[in-house]
């Protein structure tokens, strides 16, 4: 139902002039999506103490302020750590799990419902759920004590050494399964004959997974990698807002959270939007890099 749709038979006559039917949606899109995006660039050049105050134009001052601010450096480092750890773990595991799921093992229906669950639940549900699980008296510490590891219990979200790790663990917890289901559904349309031929040649599972199946769905792998990269980079703010508010200290302040924090708690809109512009830039750079890396390996 996606890229396979055949193009319509070329009509000899001129195409009907019905493109005006796209104008309402284009207008809507321009007004509510493109407009605010341009607004972000504009606000990044303003000194603006909050929505009720007047703003003054300061050019690139905000960027100079942002780039020399230690908090920004921490946020940049946290975001890079988050992306560099979460994505390389998530994607291969999700692919292998999707491959496994696509073989329709016993109980795969139960498995796929469970794997799919994180895709259904909202960030605020995830947040409140893990607030309970990771609290000092919560389920995770209880579990550790139950299996004799009481010595390593801690306040996971309040300890600077574990807070960012906890956020990343939640990313992985929810991302792997959901991505695996997406892979499984893509894999179900891969021609099985190739794999059967590989079987006859005595190829092992790993070989079939990575040498034969992976190249076939490489584009899809790339698309999902880029999507997960963008989700991780851009949407971590919401979970962090519910669970740690960027702390303790700046240990969980990521770039997207910094955008939010500067705008809504610290009333520094120009700074916030300058970070937003840099974040957008980072997103684009990341996508180009991911594409390069995935292309160069074949």
């Amino acid at each position: 139902m996606t890229a396979t749709a055949p193009a319509p038979v070329k009509a000899k006559r001129r195409p009907p002039a019905i493109l005006w039917l796209t104008t309402p949606s284009l207008a809507w899109y321009a007004f509510f999506t493109i407009g605010p995006l341009l607004g972000m660039f504009a606000i990044a050049t303003l000194s603006w103490k909050g929505l009720i105050y007047p703003a003054t134009f300061t050019g690139l001052d905000n960027f100079a302020r942002v780039l020399t601010d230690p908090t920004f450096h921490d946020a940049l480092r946290n975001s890079i750590v988050q992306v560099l750890i979460v994505i390389p773990i998530m994607m291969p595991l999700a692919f292998m799990l999707g491959y496994y799921l696509n073989t329709k093992p016993r109980g795969y229906r139960v498995l796929s419902v469970l794997f799919f669950t994180p895709g259904l639940i909202s960030i605020s549900i995830k947040g409140t759920m893990f607030y309970g699980v990771l609290s000092p008296n919560g389920g995770f510490n209880g579990l550790l004590e139950g299996i004799g590891l009481g010595g390593i219990t801690t306040a996971w979200l309040a300890n600077p050494a574990t807070a960012l790790g906890s956020i990343m663990a939640i990313d992985l917890w929810s991302g792997i399964g959901f991505t695996a289901v997406l892979f499984a559904s893509r894999l179900s349309s891969v021609d099985t004959e190739v794999l059967e031929a590989a079987d006859l040649d005595g190829a092992g599972t790993f070989r079939k997974m990575w040498r034969i199946t992976y190249p076939i769905i490489k584009d899809y792998f790339g698309t999902l990698t880029m999507l997960q990269f963008l989700w991780t980079l851009f949407t971590s703010a919401a979970l962090i807002l519910i669970l740690t508010k960027g702390g303790p200290g700046t240990s969980t302040t990521t770039l997207s959270f910094l955008v939010y924090q500067k705008a809504f708690s610290q009333q520094d809109l120009g700074y916030s939007q300058a970070v937003g512009v840099l974040l957008l830039l980072l997103g684009i750079i990341g996508m180009v890099l991911i594409r390069r890396i995935l292309r160069s390996q074949a």
Binding site: L26, Y29, G39, S122, T128, F130
Partner: protein, 293 residues
């Protein structure tokens, strides 16, 4: 374990070799897959059982079944989080937003499916570019827009704004569907004197109904689960906030974890009911959503 190699449409010919090579990896991957499933299931189990316990019982026996089933936790969560109002607001916002999305997207998809040439191409590309825009990056300018429209802290702005964020994906998915409709049907209908609107309503909408249903599910789920924009634009006022915004307010200095868990369960139930009813469709919808990107 032979299953590791069994594909969607297994053929009988190489069953033997499949079994042989499958044995090496099979048990391990099965164990790992179920271990991960357990990791997903445990927090859910913990959540549901905690919803029926007191704080003390949650702390001392985190994984035991409740000794006394505290159903009043649900009542308290419902009350103190005013979750009823939250659910009603979520239903209202999602419903209006999805209707508006379809009203805007269906004619656009129809026009794009039936047009070729540079202009149509340019319009399609501009919607494709929409995927690359992180909605979150423009959160603050969107707040400014809401203030200037005098719609800050209202549900109405969300109803108008959410469709815009959903348009690129909706239009591209629907265009794909509508492009599969054979030209001959359209030709003969227009010979019979049918105008654009009747071709759209009598031919394109019915034939692409599966696509429309997928887009509807996908976007309703997205609208329903939206958090950050709802929090900042619709706000936290008990009369306007959505269930997603209401839920984290149950976290406080003296958190009653049982009540918090009960509230979370209440927020989960509608999505699970929808999922149980539409399992196949829902998976298809979300898969299609991620395919484009």
């Amino acid at each position: 374990m032979t299953q590791i190699l069994r594909t969607a449409r297994p053929s009988r010919t190489s069953a033997r070799s499949r079994r042989i090579s499958g044995n090496r990896m099979g048990p391990l991957s099965t164990v790992l897959a179920w271990f991960y499933a357990l990791l997903l299931a445990i927090p859910l189990y913990y959540l549901v059982t905690s919803a029926l316990k007191t704080n003390i019982e949650i702390f001392t026996d985190p994984f035991a079944l409740p000794t006394q089933w505290l159903w009043e936790n649900f009542g308290e969560a419902w009350q103190s989080g005013s979750l009823g109002a939250g659910l009603a607001n979520s239903v209202l916002i999602s419903a209006v937003a999805v209707v508006l999305t379809l009203v805007l997207a269906i004619p656009a998809a129809y026009a794009l499916a039936r047009s070729e040439g540079k202009v149509a191409q340019a319009i399609t590309s501009s919607f494709v570019a929409g995927f690359l825009i992180p909605p979150f990056a423009a959160l603050i300018p969107t707040v400014v827009l809401a203030i200037n429209l005098n719609l800050f802290y209202t549900r109405e702005f969300q109803m108008l704004f959410l469709p815009a964020s959903a348009l690129p994906l909706s239009i591209l998915l629907l265009t794909q569907f509508m492009k599969t409709i054979p030209h001959e049907i359209v030709e003969s209908a227009s010979m019979d004197g049918a105008g654009h609107f009747s071709i759209l309503l009598r031919i394109f909408v019915p034939i692409s109904l599966p696509g429309i249903v997928s887009v509807t599910i996908l976007q309703v789920l997205g609208f329903w689960n939206e958090y950050l924009f709802s929090l900042t634009i619709t706000g936290t006022g008990a009369d306007v906030r959505t269930i997603q915004v209401a839920l984290p307010t149950l976290i406080s200095d003296s958190t009653n974890y049982g009540v918090l868990a009960a509230g979370t369960v209440i927020a989960l139930v509608p999505v699970y009911i929808a999922y149980a009813a539409l399992q196949r469709r829902m998976q298809d919808a979300l898969t299609a959503g991620a395919l484009k990107g």
